[in-house]
């Protein structure tokens, strides 16, 4: 697979995953099936998953050897 195709696939996968995660969060609030606190907690958890997806797919930040250096730059307190 060429770099370009690979890149496009990464964005497409990120987009689909984000849509699914957002729809899940909206669905949980629109059709509530358990307590408000549990729903809110799950929405926050879904948000965290979506952040990880977007960091990985859109911002090219991952645990790979090549990009770990960038991750250190972001995470290190200095």
């Amino acid at each position: 697979m060429s770099d370009r195709t690979h890149e496009l696939c990464t964005y497409a996968i990120g987009y689909i995953l984000s849509l699914v995660l957002t729809a899940a969060a909206f669905g949980m609030v629109h059709w509530p099936s358990f307590g408000a606190r549990a729903i809110f907690g799950t929405v926050l958890a879904l948000g965290l998953v979506q952040m990880a997806v977007q960091f990985r797919c859109f911002l090219h930040i991952s645990l790979n050897r090549s990009s770990r250096h960038d991750l250190q730059l972001i995470l290190s307190p200095r």
Binding site: A25, V29, G35, A36, R37, I39, F40, V43, L44, G47, Q50, M51, Q54, F55, F58, L59
Partner: protein, 117 residues
Amino acid sequence: MRRQQRVVTSATVGAADGHGTTFDTLRYIATCRDPTHAHGAHPMRSGFQASFFALVGLHGLHVAVACWLVVMVGQICAYGSDARVRTNLFRLGLFWHLLDIVWIAIFPVVYLQENIG
């Protein structure tokens, strides 16, 4: 960059800003129609409402003017597929996606927390 590519890229950048502006407009309308403000959603009503209306209005203005995006479209039209234009587009993309991540947190914490339950 071919003419078609320029048009598509500019339109995509414009569409991104269009979504932001639409969101802000809907937010303003929703705030004015909020039943909890039935007796007048009004900036003069309380400190909270004054700051909220100032915040939403300023953010709306900020998104609508969209200086960076306008400059970006200008660069695409003027210089085409210059290496620097490509880098700038990539940076704009990174910035936009970072904003998305911030909004993932803002949506549940600001808009959902108070209204759920």
